[in-house]
Amino acid sequence: MNLRQFTVSLLLAAASLGGSGVVLAQQKLVPAQSEIVFVSKQMGVPVEGRFKRFDAQISFNPAKPDTSKIAFTVDTGSATLGVPETDAELPKPIWFNVPKFPQATFQSSGVKGLGAGKFEVAGKLSIKGFSRDVVVPVTLTQNGAATTATGTFSLKRLAFKIGENEWSDTSMVADDVQVKFKLALTGVGKL
């Protein structure tokens, strides 16, 4: 390799690095077009609730999913079941304890690409001062510049002490809670 060839390859390498740098730039969540829904079962009746405020820091490259970092924050005080009497209860210490734990967080530890727009995001979910390892399946679909991430996973509410004392009775409210999300993202590279 002569000096000229070396220089050209160096420049190409730099250019490709710069290129990948653009792809790795922070992706953004569009909260207004996103939703996080949770479904709990009360005496066998599925009851849907949602969080109205949440945000995420996302650095995600579909070509190199394992380099991705995803950090999520959810305002626990924004939880609603759509029933005013119940919503007044949720911030209390036996449920989300919002004054002490205003935010639930998720911090990814690894992202695995499964092909065809499917990924597995492993990480730590922290609610009410308790942390649990979770693996969240995520499906990405793209429409022009808009990317939508959808997925469902289940968690055990008692692992986070959501519903204490008389409400820890799982015959009243089941331990399993389904979490369903639809996240609108911008700035994600082509799948």
């Binding site: 005496m43 066998g44 009851v47 009497e85 008389e166 409400w167 009775d169």
Partner: protein, 187 residues
């Protein structure tokens, strides 16, 4: 053979059983309904609401059975002497009360079911059998339906009181033994 005044022809056993079973169930469920709405948010409240819904759906099914039975089994006619002694308005009240009660046996539970569905709480019968929602989840609609369930239940309670008062009037004032047509047990 006894005179029709002291021993009018009785209802059949099925009609008598359904009458008393539903009488107890309806009065009990009305009391639970009035009680539970005043409870604070608690597992007890959630439990009673679900029991109330399960019992309401059961009453609805039994009422359908009762209506089909009533339509296929002619009830005993009023004893002729009694029918002749009753003024026209009493005949009207007699039929009107029974028709209205039958209508409410269906209207009250169906309104409760619709309210539950509209409020976003599907009914899962006995915690295992999910029932269909015949109205969509719509909080505004739920608030519209809610008073109708309550008012129709109170109207039914009022008609039940009227029905009981009329039966007691026959028994205690007219002393015509009419109550024996529906009174359980052999005579």
């Amino acid at each position: 053979m006894s005179s029709p005044n002291t021993s009018p022809e009785r209802y059949g056993l099925t009609a008598i059983v359904l009458h008393w079973l539903l009488a107890i169930a309806l009065i009990g469920l009305f009391a639970v309904g009035v009680y539970m709405t005043g409870l604070p948010f608690s597992p007890q409240r959630l439990k009673l609401y679900n029991w109330h819904k399960w019992a309401g759906v059961t009453i609805l099914a039994l009422s359908l059975l009762r209506l089909l039975w009533r339509l296929t089994h002619q009830p005993p006619a009023l004893p002729p002497a009694m029918a002749q002694a009753m003024p026209r308005w009493q005949h009207w009240a007699h039929h009107g009360t029974h028709h209205a009660l039958y209508g409410l046996f269906f209207a009250v539970p169906l309104l409760g079911w619709a309210y539950s569905s509209a409020a976003g709480f599907s009914i899962v019968l006995f915690g295992v059998l999910p029932l269909p929602d015949f109205v969509a989840t719509d909080k505004a609609l739920a608030e519209t339906i809610k008073p109708w369930h309550e008012v129709s239940a109170y109207v039914m309670a009022g008609l039940v009181l009227l029905h009981v008062a009329a039966a007691l009037k026959h028994q205690l004032i007219d002393r015509d033994g009419l109550i024996g047509r529906m009174w359980p047990g052999r005579r």
